[in-house]
Symmetry: none
DNA sequence: AATGAATGAGTCTTCATTCAT
DNA sequence: TATGAATGAAGACTCATTCAT
């Protein structure tokens, strides 16, 4: 029926908005329900508990992120290095457009950390482990990375990336840089003492360094967007 | 008197241990007191509230981190690139030896992010803003970064780092890589599908990439620790 | 359904009883819930906090008091002086039958005192100012007084009260006497040294004095209840 | 030693000031100590506990009030009615100059109320009953009243007050009016709907009514201060 | 599917009071 | 007398979750 949106989706959207505004901890289930225009009880019909809801949101975040990776791979006429450059820009945008999804992804990596550690596993909230969405995530969280690694491999094959680089390690390094970026953003924006650089300058410098790190012998198929005058 | 430790320190140590084991949220003030061998009320004598305690812990984390930076700078006979290499290893170790401190630092950067954003500032827990330790942190959090930038500058001066690099941007990139590392570690360790690399392999690959990124024309003053055979 | 009383009312009744027995300070919200036969959380569902609950109780107190005033006005065949006499007796009874309500009313006057004073306003508990019932009280607390003033005016019109009296001032004086009564009751009842009068004697003397104060030229429409032999 | 004020007095003064500003409940013993310029522990050397401190303050309040009564009695050349008029003005001023003392007196009357009631006695804070100052108060609280009754008697004797009045009842009525005054003040000051009179107008009206109530056949020995034009 | 009243475990925090020195 | 660190009982309040309807 027109106007009758799927309730599950409605709840997820409400949660996303509220988590963005107030954070996970500070958001009450009642707020989510109100925002979604339904009753508190109904949220528990669609999601087992608050953690389950968050895991569902995280799952969606990974789906969206994977879509970004796929779109880069779908674009024709780009070599591996260009794809990684494109990808980096997209992740950058993603982290700004969907801060909650991005944070959910990072947080999931933390959970994963504990999940894989014998001692830390016990500290994990049992509700997370029970969530069906958590188990879906265990299955799919590697996909974006796999696609990224694929891009590096392709770059090596097409000569745009140095052949001696190990694809997995290389992509992980880029991935961690992208994640670290969001975390250090705050330190940059702060009106600190001596150090002061603009976010935009950093973004471009960041991209340039990445290219220096990866560049093979083959020229880019078309001129790069980023100016090198920053360095 | 032996065994008569400073109470403030005692509480901080207890908190560090419990935050490591159970996390900030899950740790109750009463547990902290019990762990420190004092009464609940006394924790409130030394720290205004739970947030204040956490800010004090974060302050200590930054102090310790800064000490790592300083020690690197104090070491004689190393050029800029070698110092950054050394520093990276130390941060790496720090994040493993003191996971709570490291996490506190990263979390503070999040808080800083909100603090510098007009809209997000309102969402911050007022108790954090009231904490005297938070304000101390505002004053000192830039010091490690300043020291890091100094190392890059020195590297450029001594020729171990490419002269065209902009010190601030370069160090921020390294810094964000180091932070991203901890977050992505989980994804690596997970017994995933296709992708699988060891943490150690990544660490070395990470260092190698960093050097490629930075290397100037001058040879290292002494053989590098990291083998390049990984790539 | 029989036995299924309105919960809000149930809580209010429980609070009234406990405030009577133990006082506001000494009564814990949990006790109120237990007394009402419900859970602690539910009291917070119906009343924002303890102060809000007390303000709701005070509101009810004013409603009941106003009802006493109205009933006096409704009684036919009485002149103004007789109505005031009747009213005084009713207030007297009210203060004995519903000591908590009466005390709540007096306490509200204290709050009002602070509320209207620029410097004192800041000392008021913010929870009181936030209470919706407090704001209702601001709207209605004048009603009993208005009705009382009306009685004096009528007495002047019908000649039972001296025409030179100013209704507002006159009624306020009676009102303050009635309030002061409850406070001084204790001093009277105490088995003191020389001074000793019975409460009942005082009540009658009080009424007699009041009449002397007010009496106009017109005779009472019927013989007064109070004997003058006490003086 | 000059400048070395008696500590007990120092504490009492500090308490008076803080109770005035923040109220009894909201004032912490630590605040009192700080305000008095001594340590927290020392306050417990001079006063057994917080209630004891408050009882001491109440004792002082009664002493001061009694002094007002005595001074009125000491004034020569005034008849009973004039003395009561004078006394009323003094009490009025006292309640404004020393609100905390006045409130302490009223509150003591409440305590007395409970103390004399078999059922209510059990609810009284045991710490109050233990206070040595409370027992002193039991001994002396009647003194002001005795002096007031004395004034009425004298008025009857000198003809300024109607001979048929019963001194005890008459004075109690005046006393309760004076107490009620402070409580109703708030209702008057409030910017209410229809009813509005000024505090000053009420004060004068109050005095006038009192005189009407008491006046005997003898003229005042000198012109009364209060204008009768208000009625 | 849907509601929202009802539950109660969970925790922070305050502050009067004590006591070793 | 004097200090102030140390204690611990007490209580308000929140919110995820359940369940009768």
């Amino acid at each position: 029926m027109a106007g009758e949106k799927n309730k599950e989706k409605l709840i997820l959207e409400a949660a996303t908005q509220l988590f963005t505004t107030k954070g996970f901890q500070a958001t009450r289930m009642e707020d989510v329900a109100k925002q979604a225009g339904i009753s508190k009880g109904l949220t528990y019909f669609y999601f087992k508990n608050k953690e389950d809801l968050f895991m569902a949101l995280t799952k969606k975040a990974f789906d969206l992120l994977r879509e970004e990776f796929r779109e880069v791979l779908r674009s024709k006429g780009k070599n591996g290095l260009e794809m990684l450059h494109d990808l980096t820009l997209r992740i950058w945008d993603f982290s700004i457009q969907h801060p909650v999804y991005y944070q959910a992804i990072i947080q999931f990596l933390d959970v994963l950390n504990s999940y894989t550690s014998a001692e830390k596993k016990a500290q994990l909230d049992p509700l997370i482990l029970e969530s069906i969405h958590f188990h879906k995530l265990l299955d799919i969280h590697h996909e974006p990375i796999r696609l990224g690694v694929q891009m590096v491999s392709q770059g090596i094959k097409d000569g745009s990336i140095r052949p001696e680089l190990q694809p997995e390690i290389t992509f992980y390094t880029l991935w961690s840089m992208a994640i670290g970026y969001q975390k250090t953003g705050g330190a940059i924006a702060y009106e600190g003492k001596e150090t002061k650089i603009s976010l935009e300058a950093w973004k471009n410098g960041f991209l340039k360094l990445m290219q220096d790190m990866l560049k093979g012998t083959i020229q880019a198929s078309k001129p790069q967007v980023v100016q090198t005058t920053l360095f």
